[in-house]
Symmetry: C2
Subunit: 280 residues, 2 copies
Amino acid sequence: MLPVTALPEDPPANRDAWFARRCAVIPAAAVPLRELLHAIGADSDAQVPEAPFAIPVWRVRSGAALLHEGARPDAVHVVRSGTFKCLKTSEDGYEQVLSFAGQGEILGFESTWRGLQLTSAIALEESTVCSLPLRELDLWRQLSPALDHALQFALGRQLARAGEIAEMMAAVAAEVRLARFLVWLSGCMAEHGQSPRRLYLRMSRRDIASLLAVAHETVSRSFSTLVELGLLQVNNREVEILDPAGLRACTRSTRGLPDELPRVAPGRHRAAPRLNVVAA
Amino acid sequence: MLPVTALPEDPPANRDAWFARRCAVIPAAAVPLRELLHAIGADSDAQVPEAPFAIPVWRVRSGAALLHEGARPDAVHVVRSGTFKCLKTSEDGYEQVLSFAGQGEILGFESTWRGLQLTSAIALEESTVCSLPLRELDLWRQLSPALDHALQFALGRQLARAGEIAEMMAAVAAEVRLARFLVWLSGCMAEHGQSPRRLYLRMSRRDIASLLAVAHETVSRSFSTLVELGLLQVNNREVEILDPAGLRACTRSTRGLPDELPRVAPGRHRAAPRLNVVAA
DNA sequence: CGATCGTTTGACGGTGCTCAATCACCGTGG
DNA sequence: CCACGGTGATTGAGCACCGTCAAACGATCG
């Protein structure tokens, strides 16, 4: 019943330490429905009637896997706090990050399609999730229209997110991809009432690189370039957006970086590759 | 140059012809709920009770836009027949294709999130869709649990699709991207009981290029390479998969093309770039 | 404090983007 | 019937962005 069950591989040496980290998904006190709705962030202004059931909550330690690719699903989760990365592991061991999920996002809903987890979800920090057991899901939705609406709302957002991620990966230049990612992240922060200018990256450069489908060295270099352009200030995982408008300008260009940006330090000239521009 | 014209501007000369194409979304006879469930393809073995409402159907002419980015949504659509491409148009006129949608796929559900269409949907051939008016959606789902289940099922599949698309774009080598796309398409064909080996591409090379985030010339070249490898036979938009296993092998490699593949004609030697392989 | 991992930067080579020309296909009109 | 323009697909040439390899530095944790 535990979300964490059997693992595909087993490392030989540090088995127990490894096991401890992976199994760090522990139950916490159940919460009223109201809390779940608040996490999802749908228009919960209206007082919702108390539901005749409580929402189970799990605590997930940093680095622990909430969902395991290939496992049988038993619940759908809504992120209550923290951050996750969702990924698929291919046979050659490559981890393809598909998305980062923050508060209010749904994890594991795709598993309802074929009864198999299609992605793994790994906590990037201490996190908590509201759990909706598949056995109860339909009943609960039926009992509480508010829950049903919130779920549909969250699913719509989830699909929108997928499109946003595709847009990031679609950019040609690596700097543009990174800029889009940062703007996206900034928007996520703003949605949750946090500062959209000061970001703390919960994920490693490698994870970002995987999401953007570039090498992690390229992510580093792109950070440096954006700093050179005076758009950012970066200190390891702390990022401050100095020029939101300029960053958005990078975002918008399907081609290379716009040359008209004031460059703090003189850099190499950059050609402007055009890709599939219709009607020039 | 205009792929299928999702232009925000209006061409001056052929205004009426253009208008005619865009507005080629015409009502057709409503169908019983059973038809919609069949299109979605959920386990509809059980006899579903007839619903007290009929599902509106729209016919969409080839090249016509069912959904317009930025418009107010009034319905969610389920593809009953035909194919669509979903895209976002950026300010510089670039059309980013986000997905291709075939039978059973949901179009426009993301619009329920913020009350705005986030993508356009353009028919790639003569198509029909079942329409679920947003005003009635909740009521109908309440009246018919079968419809509700089918929708949740389809939403789960939709999210899974999003992951699959991200996987395509994530591949490093262009040939691998194309191979993944073809395998994906082949799987879609198989799902609908069609031959998974003989594909007819409803979309142009340019559309494929946009989805895979490469130049359309590169798509052409990648087709040629896969033909050279003896994996495909290509005649314009007709594609026959000669070696499904070999094609899947390409798919699996996160790196470049596997060299052990028998090459019909001797080609240039290809290095095997590795990207973010964990634990070597 | 040492070991391990994450991050950054450099150099080099290759894949893929741009530009360009050519060919095939189609509906139109002379 | 056959030019004719237009669109889409294919192929070639050149160059530059980015992936690989490598090394150095910094951060984190036991």
